[in-house]
Symmetry: C2
Subunit: 516 residues, 2 copies
């Protein structure tokens, strides 16, 4: 390329990322990223989606990656911007979703001074990244970006953060770098396959996550193995993505509440792990174990998180000559006129869901019945909060809609959690995304009340004050309007079903506040 | 105390903090902090202010500390919650405002597992804290909290973060700890006093920050010294707090734009520093220095950030037998009917400001004339963004109003920056705080356009798209309504002045969207 001598570092990175297949950027830039804004503008190679808050950018990148199976790039500003981005980098990291963050830092010569925005950028990146590097020259900057992309796409997928001092972006000398090598899976271990095949039976649980859950054939093969051997198939509580619904084999999850989780796993003396690790309690509780499998349970890892789960499942099914089995609960009856409760809202959603929808689930307690009751809904993708850092639902829906522009997105959003990254609604409006946000308005941090009782407290008025959101009440229809998203409030569940179906059929974003 | 044997760790911390004078908690708790919620509830010793987002809690603590001159405590949840809190911890740290963060972590035995919320909590705290510690036993937990408080109150004030594994909070054995020793200032150096007194003259600049700017007598003494010697008095661009207005000596600041800053400091061959360090450019720019004082400028530190600035100023004034001098620009004429511009909005604010108000300034470009034109407004306190991490204005107003319940608060808030931590409006409504939020609605990240041109770019449509907020337009009146805060939109500047004055006179929060 003729112009490489005069290309600046930022442009070499944009061109290299594009050459490697990255064509979406979720951005909340600041001064130290202006050379990237300039390079993105001049090259016109990427779709740039502006976020009003960094956590929206990284949450959108998480949703995008889960649906596109490749990373978007985010553009962030210095250590405080990275901090704002951190919670949803955390969720992506726990989901094993690939992400590449480009974070501007001060120019190298400026970093030694106590400027207002000076802080430890690498330090802020480390707790929420699997891979961190600071670029050191315009000439090697693009190669660093390809190394970041390679890390993000390695197995399992990772969150990679590349820090870019401003002068390394604006100085000339950038050199376009070739894409990273295609990632490789860890090889399947024949010994583990033998062992797994030999230990199946009614006291065996197959715990599976990762790409298996995105592969309907693999889940059907697993259920066939289970039917043949009496074993049980379960997914962990938190997973990157499911492909599910009518005509696909269903799978249950380990429940979130500690006592239910322990009860669910109690019967098993043997566990086979596929693209997962031994399940751990969300939190520790007095007199409850951290590890959820019964003590003494024999554990065999058929393939780890770095392996090819669907291939492992296929090999196991072949070894056992098990036939795929497809079964799921039927669609529940449509709800009649009446109050919106955890049970009725689930039936409304199940009946309203159009074919090929994407469900983004951050409904927390209000959505506890939705998972089960949508088993027989029209086939859909399901992505949900993985790292427990609330405020991923609305942002993920932005990224999912950008990744799949022809598919309607339904966000199941708890009210308390919605308030962490509500700014994502504005990006939905700006990009004209077909996202329907369903607010589960129970006006409380309901889950924390449960947890407060779980540590043995007998809460008084001021404790409950810290967990209630009803003074003043949030008006989500007004909040949505403020960000350019139309919406309405619904109090009847039959009406709710019609409202969801209508909003998903219409293009553009819409918000429904369901009063529970 | 009789019940110490059965007191848990969390209660011992709450009781000790209260014993040391901490009686406000800004909280966004999660599961790992339920024992604190329980202890706060049972003891009833603190005013608990709930925030819908962690950055609101730390920003409120920043505003509280700047007005109360002592820390509030914040209650935060694990590494992702700490990340959300980080940007405003950063601003407080740069302001040298005292803050104590209590951050829950998993129980000790649970930390080794890859639970969904597991991440490096100390690592997330470090970039935005001056002091970090993890509690190790219920018995020593309260003593750790007192050490944190001592660090926060040491000179200059600091951000201290104490990490509390859940079991250390819920286990019995807590022991109430005595308050930390009162902080001491670094002693005044007689040699530096001699030197400073001997170098004053027309080519000398006195750069002062910290407590000096909060002490009207000290600023008057400085202006007396300046009048007598021909020296110039300036504050850095970013400072913790000013006490200013009619009847108080005014002081100018080093401007934010790099060329103006260099031009302002160019005449000086000698600089005397009081509670500050040599001024640094906000950002580095090609062909511009990082240090703002001219090359070869002789620098004497009369007292550092750990010293007693007002005492140093008094000593210098005494040495020179300089009389205090009080002078400020007159109040500008009230604006006539017409458009809202940077100049007219400043006149409206200056004329609307009631006596004893607190101004919280995050107006960025739209407020560039407000500082100068409020010099002769009714006496007021002025706190502003210090660390460049936008999203501190609305939260700081919450804390300032909690610290000073009898004083009206006016928040000068840029629209783009408002969207980072808008959730603070809800806390204003919940607590019934007399805060008037004035949105400078220019519908753009105007400052970034300036910065884009400053790196030499010639922006096209897609670059400007990343910096404009007008698609869709934000409706701040609707957003405020959604969080329980009444408001209105104003397009005429004379009307704006009336609206500001009326809102500040009324109790409770109000939002005014000024269309620029």
């Amino acid at each position: 390329m003729k112009d490489q001598k005069t290309m600046n570092g930022a442009e070499s990175v944009v061109r290299s990322l594009h050459g490697a297949g990255v064509d979406v950027c979720f951005a909340n830039p600041g001064t130290s990223e202006m050379q990237f804004v300039d390079a993105l503008d001049r090259t016109g190679l990427m779709r740039c989606v502006l976020a009003l808050f960094e956590g929206v950018a990284t949450g959108a990148a998480d949703g995008y990656a889960r649906m596109a199976n490749r990373p978007a790039v985010t553009l962030l500003h210095l250590a405080p911007g990275l901090a704002n981005a951190g919670a949803n980098m955390h969720n992506a990291r726990k989901a094993k979703a690939p992400m590449v963050n480009l974070v501007g830092d001060h120019a190298v010569r400026h970093r030694g001074y106590d400027a207002p925005l000076s802080a430890d950028v690498e330090g802020a990146a480390a707790p929420f990244s699997d891979w961190v590097k600071t670029a050191t020259s315009p000439e090697t900057f693009a190669a660093d970006a390809m190394e970041a992309l390679g890390a993000a796409m390695s197995r399992p997928n990772k969150v990679a953060t590349l820090i870019a001092p401003a002068d390394i972006g604006w100085d000339a000398g950038g050199v376009v770098a070739p894409p990273p090598a295609a990632p490789e899976y860890a090889a399947l271990d024949d010994g583990a396959l033998d062992k797994a095949a030999g230990m199946l039976g009614p006291e065996t649980v197959l715990l599976v996550s990762g790409r298996v859950l995105e592969t309907p054939e693999a889940v059907a093969q697993l259920q066939g193995i289970a039917a043949q051997t009496g074993a049980k198939v379960l997914a962990p509580t938190s997973n990157r993505r499911f492909e599910r619904g009518a005509g696909r084999a269903a799978i249950s999850k380990v429940p979130y509440p500690i006592n239910m989780a322990l009860e669910t796993l109690k019967p098993y003396k043997r566990a086979i792990l596929i693209e997962t690790v031994p399940p751990v309690a969300f939190f520790a509780y007095p007199d409850r174990p951290s590890l959820l499998l019964p003590e003494g349970c024999e554990i065999v890892t058929l393939t780890g998180r770095d392996g090819d789960g669907p291939a492992a499942v296929a090999a196991l099914a072949e070894r056992l000559a098990a036939k795929p089995l497809i079964a799921s609960d039927p669609l529940p009856p449509a709800p009649q006129i009446g109050a919106i409760t955890a049970a009725t809202i689930a039936a409304a959603i199940a009946n309203a869901l159009p074919e090929n929808a994407i469900v983004v689930d951050e409904s927390i307690t209000g959505g506890k019945d939705v998972w089960r009751m949508t088993e027989g809904a029209a086939p859909h993708s399901w992505i949900s909060l993985t790292g427990g850092a609330i405020g991923d639902g609305i942002p993920m829906s932005v990224g999912a809609a950008v990744a799949c522009p022809d598919r309607p997105v339904l966000t199941l959003q708890a009210d308390g959690s919605a308030m962490y990254t509500l700014q994502g609604l504005w990006s939905q409006a700006r990009e004209g995304l077909n996202v329907t946000t369903l607010i589960f308005a129970n006006r409380t941090y309901e889950i924390l009340k449960t947890e407060l009782f779980a540590v043995g407290a007998n809460p008084g008025r001021s404790a409950l004050d810290m967990l209630d959101l009803d003074r003043p009440n949030l008006d989500f229809v007004a909040l949505a309007k403020g960000m350019g998203v139309p919406g309405r409030r619904v109090e009847d569940v039959a009406e709710l079903q019609r409202a969801i179906a209508a909003a998903m059929e219409e293009p553009g974003p819409y918000l429904i506040e369901a009063m529970m």
